[in-house]
Amino acid sequence: MKIISIISANGGVGKTTIAANLATVFKKNGHHVLAVDFDPKNSLRLHFGIDLLHTLGIASSKQILGKWSQAIIKGSDDVSILPFGNTSADERNNFIGEMSNNPMLLKEQLITLGLPNNAIVLVDTPAGPSPYLDQSLSAANLVILANHADGASYSMLQMINALVEQQCRTRVDFLGSFYVINQLDRSRQLAGDIADIMSMQLGAENVGPIHHDQSVQEAFAFGTDVIHYAPDSRASMDFIEVSLLVSQLIGIRLGVTAHRDSF
């Protein structure tokens, strides 16, 4: 089991979208995938066509949910999802309490699921420092940092990197960080320049752009993923390329050939 935590310093940079689309690409290539919604917003399930009224999740109260495995539900493309659950304030406080009692709660719970060795677990994490981020980082084999190519993301890079450094670097099972630049629009010079600077500073092999593409939003509106909805779009291609780079980092081979570098 390889745990990939998807994190960001700022909100609204598209972590959930990245988690959902990567899960789909991995699943399409025959991998065992589990998408974990570790965010009280509980919106990941919506990317997989699961009903808004489905309330069960990992933070649901003990009386309702005995084990995490009971909350797993199959979404579109047959991807397994572990929702956070539509929770009350009490339930959330309880969950936070549980997390503060056990800093390794997430990891331990994921282990108890008994997933196969080659399974990929994607953990969608709320933005910014929080107990959720700490749990997610403590569990991660690989961290995907979601960014926009803008000043806000760039200025927070150092802070979020320091957090990752603190929580992960010393662990032997930690494989590194990968940076996704989401909604990149190079027709705007500043965006292009920031993307270039990030790629230079972080190492081009660790950075993957997802271009700004209307198809991503449209796919979500139609309750599907962009790879289905618009296979010829740049975003589809970008998700495939990112999945390829990520799978190289975690040492799992993918069946797709990326568009990039094929020339």
């Binding site: 629009d185 190079r186 027709s187 292009g192 790629s199 081009a204 092999e205 950075v207 752009p209 271009h211 700004h212 593409d213 209307q214 198809s215 618009a230 010829d232 779009s233 740049r234 975003a235 589809s236 291609m237 568009h259 990039r260 570098d261 094929s262 020339f263």
Partner: protein
Amino acid sequence: MKSQTHNKSKLIELGDNFFDLSIWKNWLLCLVMAIFATLLAYIVISTPLTLTEQIIFGVFAFCAVFAIRNRPWGRLGILMMIVISVTVSLRYMYWRLTNSMDFTTPLDNFLGWGLALAEIYSLIVLLLGYIQTAMPLKRPVVLMPPDLENWPTVDVLIPTYNESLSVVNTAILAAKSMDWPADKLRIYLLDDGRREEFKEFCHKVGVNYLTRENNLHNKAGNLNAALRVTDGQYVAIFDCDHIPTRSFLQVSMGWFSKDPKLAMIQTPHYFFSPDPFEKNLNIYKIVPNEGVLFYGLVQDGNDLWNASFFCGSCAILERKALMEIGGIAVETVTEDAHTALKLSRKGYNLAYLAIPQAAGLATESLSGHIIQRRRWARGMAQIFRVDNPLLGRGLSIWQRLCYSNAMLHFFYGLPRLVFLTAPLAYLLLGAEVFSATAILVVVYALPHILISSITNSKIQGSFRHSFWNEVYETALAWYILFPVLLAMVNPKFGAFNATAKGGLVKEEYVDWRVSTPYIVLLFLNLTGFIVGITKVILNEGATSTLVINLVWVTFNIIIISASANTAREARQLRRSPRVYANLPATIFLPNGKTIVCETTDFSQSGLDLLVANPVNLTLGQKIFVSIFRGNKEVTLPCTVARSGKSIGVLLDVLTIQQQVDYTRITFSRADNWINTWGKDSKDAPLKSFKEVMTYGIFNLAPLLKYGIHDLILSMRVKAQRKSYTRR
């Protein structure tokens, strides 16, 4: 099966490494073998044979050559073919001069000797050509040492005179993009046109702009003026329309560190636009052009003898050596070849690296092509007059022969015209140019012609297709004849003409002024053909002689018609020629949607993009297009010009940075030209003959149509003028 391929590769290995065998190190043994071989050759060449015996000899030689041709002998096979070809051709010439020159009338004497001299010229060029191309050196790349500290300084000189900025800017941007330590690379634009626009552009891009007070000695003078005010250890020279790849310097400079006596390294001139032959005959990427033979084979062959020469562009020279001979030579109009000759005389080495690292525009029209070739021809003749490589100090015998052939090559004008008119001597004038029976001529000449053709075809492989040489030479023969003759009489005669590039041809037309010589030759040969046929039907004269001359005339008609068709200028609507390359790309539409695609070609003005599923885009719509290369992405503002499965876009006005990025991701790609260069199909003489026929004789109808159309038009214009003057 496995052992067979094993044997095959062993045979090639032996053939390729024939000259590495230790017997060649024993000079006494070599001398004895040489004397023995010379004696043997003399016997074979001079022994008189009866008709039947000569037929057997010819058939035997032909079969031997044919057998070797299809076996995997490597280089040794080519050498064996050359030995047989030389022997058979010399045997023909020996017979020709001793047994067929017994003329009776003064006219026979004049024409007969004229033909014989043309044949002797061709034989000399054939023999020198064998020496030049028998064993191409195929020099490998030498890498630069890893520590950048010791890399030398390089000045890149780009001379320009009257070319437009839209042609020159890409070369400047590409030169600036070359991979070399920034503090050791300086780019200079040498503007003999002294244009403000160029000065501004150089300023914006950040390259040096140089001018001088006069335009003395044209390009050579321009370069020399720049050499006086620059001081880099090495000088890379590019014509202003030659676009270097970013790897040019790193790939080419290595040899200087390996060979301290090296003064110049030349790389191929690759053209990414079709030359007039390719364009007007529509044979681009089908039949290799003249440059492919020269840079693919001749220069590489020269390199073995340390006689590869400087071709004016896409080359690097060592400044110290260059200054020792007084800079770029100014005595002739082919300053490049003469500079190389002077360096050789000083004992410097010259190198040729057969890796295309720059590309440029070919001449646009036949008339432009003719102007360029006239200059080369005149310049080479000038060198032959003022600094003959056969005379003077400092050259090895092989260098003398290679340089001489490079110059003699341009003397083909008169001999070619002789061959194109020789059969008419008999058919129209009744002159006997051979004092021998027709059958004897055939049994001696045929092995010579066939075997030398097959041998050349084998040597030239994919670098030239048989018979196209005749087409190229025929198109130029008349035009280079007089410049060469005049230069031989007085080397100072004539002026330098820059070659025009980057023009448009809106409507197809025939350049009648240029094509007059071909039309005359065609008319003469057609007349000869009709007269000959009539004589055969009327049973006048010796039928066998008539048949030989008819075959010859037919061959001439085919060749001339292909050349004449070159004067039919095809339409050229895009201002900048396209480069065919499949680069990953993406279209970004104003509505936020994207389409992943691939370029099919790019040019300085636009791109063609291939999409998986046809899309309907509004013409004139503003979009962005990204081109990808590894982690690099360049996004450009474009306008849609064509929609559907293949989408054509025009680049909008780009910022300097966008221009730099675009040039880097397209024109300066290191692998741009290597993949397509010299990858034409291998020569097959019969197929090639069919090609010439197809593009020549079968295409005469449109030429005729244009001829009649233009004739009527000009008559009408004349009539109108007359009526005006009458009023």
